[in-house]
């Protein structure tokens, strides 16, 4: 049974009615599917089959406490389940029945949550979804290995064909999914390389184009492109249709990340769930920072650079940095850039003639939601 208190979907207010209706329809199924999959993966039976050994009881306890529960807690706190929703939506839009494809649906969220643990480690974040981060709970080493296992459990799930965890996919679709997920995992790391190297090397001379290139192969992947690909492949889309949906996901992911960067320093409400302006504390050099550095006069630009270098958590200094970003007009320019990608999304959406008009409307509304969302 799912705890009814977990259904806190007040953010749906940012969604258009037709999208909200579809989202509300699939949300309980998504949550149940994800939680059931996690519980099954965490069972001794699944682990023993995957690892090929009989686990001593002490090992089962250790894995439950250090591997299963810290990860599970990321899902029980909150979580919008946007990625599994996208998978459900695409499968249904292609004429399939999402309820018969629980594994592909769960995979989208399992990967996302594992990536959150890795992000939290990289940024040494204290909070995630309003609770303590995994590495702050079980230590950095265990959390890293935990995230790695959950990130790649999709391959184990896709290899299973038993009665309980059969993915519902044929061998061709399974192979396509394995290769696409493996590729997305890899390119996400390449994009992250730029994200981690710029602050380390104090590379304030990066360009907006270079930043966007890194975003295409970082957050864009797990946020939008991969769920849409999973939905397309699981729903039986052909290669061209999958490519179209992936291209749409890439544009949407770009818009999503630009908005996310803005929300990181300027959350739209009090339910952001993360420390405010964490990106500034981490010295992140994102689009709005690059724009501000270009637009501010040399003294103010220098000051913003200094703040980014000192990795401060001092709220007064963080507010000063946010003020500098605002003064420069960087938020507005970045939001304009996001709107350009939104416009591309809409064009790509209208080209997807293999979807019904209603499905295209929902996708278009989802794009608007990404821009309008307050958290």
């Amino acid at each position: 049974m799912i705890d009814a208190t977990l259904y806190c979907d007040d953010f749906v207010i940012d969604m258009a009615p037709i999208l909200a209706e579809s989202y509300r329809h699939w949300y309980p199924f998504c949550r149940e599917t994800v939680m059931e999959t996690i519980n099954r993966v965490g069972s001794p039976e699944f682990l023993e089959c995957a690892l090929g050994v009989e686990l001593p009881s002490q090992a089962v306890e250790v894995l439950r406490d250090a591997w299963l529960e810290p990860y599970r807690s990321y899902h029980t706190r909150s979580g919008k389940m946007l990625r599994p929703f996208l998978v459900c939506f695409v499968i249904e839009a292609l004429g399939g029945d999402p309820t018969k494809l629980p594994i592909p649906i769960a995979i989208a969220e399992l990967i996302h949550a594992a990536s959150l643990i890795l992000d939290d480690i990289a940024d040494d974040s204290l909070l995630r979804r309003g609770g303590s981060t995994a590495h702050r709970t079980v230590g950095l080493r265990v959390a890293g290995a935990t995230a790695s296992a959950w990130l790649n459990v999709c391959f184990e799930l896709l290899a299973r064909h038993d009665s309980v965890l059969d993915s519902g996919l044929g061998s061709v679709a399974t192979t396509r999914l394995v290769e696409e997920i493996a590729w997305e995992h890899w390119v996400t790391g390449i994009g992250t390389t730029v994200d981690t190297t710029w602050p380390w090397m104090e590379r304030f001379d990066g360009t907006a184009e270079q930043y966007l290139q890194s975003v295409i192969h970082r957050s864009t992947s797990y946020t939008c492109r991969l769920p849409l690909k999973i939905g397309a492949i699981a729903g039986g889309a052909n290669t061209r249709q999958t490519t179209q949906l992936a291209a749409f996901g890439e544009e949407l992911g770009l818009a999503f990340q630009i908005v996310d960067d803005i929300l990181n320093v300027k959350p739209g409400d009090d339910k952001w769930g993360k420390a405010i302006a964490e990106d500034i504390t981490q010295g992140k050099i994102n689009l709005q920072v690059l724009i501000a550095l270009e637009r501010l006069n040399s003294g103010r630009s220098q000051r913003l650079t200094e703040i980014l270098k000192i990795r401060t958590t001092d709220t007064v200094v963080l507010r000063e940095a946010i003020q500098l970003l605002a003064e420069s007009g960087a938020f507005d320019v970045a939001r304009e850039a996001a709107l350009t990608h939104v416009s591309h999304c809409k064009e790509l959406c209208s080209d997807m003639t293999f979807l019904s008009n209603q499905s295209r409307d929902v996708l278009a509304d989802f794009v608007d939601y990404v821009i309008r969302r307050s958290r």
Binding site: L51, V142, G144, A145, V178, A182
Partner: protein, 311 residues
């Protein structure tokens, strides 16, 4: 064996250097990532990924896993020289594994790569992450020497291995911190069998199986026997009270095992003496060439007599 080992090691190294870009390489990115829409910051890619990886690969150059895989391909009647990309992908997997081990175990990762002495943890974590995921994509995209079905199976095998490796690491690290009781020798053997260092022999066997296009049953058998060999060799090292060991002029870094409270070195030696002959017997049951390779490899790696002591 030393000549064969060194020749294969040289071949694997050459294959590895051919796979990794030494400088900006747009065609590499196009093949392994895609055609960039906006343009990469190559300076950052080199500083934050390719340079640290190359420096790491130059220092950690034992190439034990792919050498074993290459020799196994030849023992199975295949031609290892046709499979340089596959062996290089396997080596990338090992390189990332020991990178992660070093980070988990607090060794001075940065200084062990010479010039790269100031790389912060998030960058190193990303290097390790990228390298292991790259190994899977290389198998999927760049191993035309494999038949399509063999490539498909090996890609999936590499990817699944990452899950198994993660769980094994959690078990070891958290088990050592939270275990409520001492473990028995048999339980220890189970924990040990889950560690990446041992299962790497199995992964090498999967590589050789793919290269030689073995059927699933033969592949499963070979991987199982290779894991037995890995377990036996690791037990021998541990029974000497060591984690790392020298091969030719290199040190082979093994994943330190944390969870072994109450297990005595003499017990490990006894276990090794039980497991190794079994592994060799099973290898000879596959065929004489495989049996001979396992036997020579075991002798070459772990000839020194075991010392007794307390863990």
């Amino acid at each position: 064996m030393i000549d064969r080992f060194n020749a294969m090691r040289f071949f694997v190294s050459q294959s590895l250097w051919q796979i990794l870009p030494a400088a900006r390489n747009d065609s590499w990115i196009k093949e392994m990532v895609d055609t960039p829409r906006f343009g990469w910051d190559w300076e950052a890619l080199m500083q934050g990924y390719f340079d640290p990886l190359s420096a790491w690969a130059a220092v950690h150059n034992a190439r034990l896993g792919p050498v074993f895989a290459g020799l196994l391909i030849d023992a199975l009647g295949g031609d290892s020289q046709r499979h340089g990309d596959v062996l290089a992908a396997l080596e990338l997997h090992f390189l990332s594994a020991i990178m992660l081990d070093d980070m988990r175990n607090g060794r001075d990762v940065a200084s062990s790569t010479g010039k790269q002495n100031s790389i912060p943890l998030p960058v190193w974590v990303t290097v390790a992450y990228n390298t292991r995921q790259l190994s899977v994509v290389l198998i999927a995209r760049r191993t035309q020497s494999l038949k399509a079905e063999a490539r498909r199976r090996l890609t999936h095998q590499f990817a699944r291995f990452l899950f198994q490796q993660g769980v094994g690491s959690v078990l070891d690290l958290a088990g050592s911190e939270n275990a409520k009781a001492h473990c028995t020798v048999e339980e220890f053997l189970t924990y040990l069998s889950l560690c990446s260092g041992i299962r790497s022999y199995g992964l090498a066997a999967h590589v050789a199986s793919a290269a030689c296009d073995l059927n699933i049953d033969d592949e499963t058998m070979l991987a199982s026997v290779a894991n037995e060999l890995g377990l036996a060799l690791r037990l021998l090292t541990l029974s000497r009270g060591e984690d790392d060991f020298p091969v030719v002029e290199c040190m082979v870094h093994e994943q330190p095992i944390h969870w072994r409270r109450g297990v005595m070195l003499k017990d490990l030696k006894k276990a090794a003496e039980r497991v190794l002959p079994l592994a060799l017997k099973h290898a000879y049951e596959i065929n004489d060439q495989v049996g001979q390779l396992f036997s020579e490899f075991a002798t070459f790696i772990h000839a020194p007599a075991c010392k007794e002591g307390v863990a």
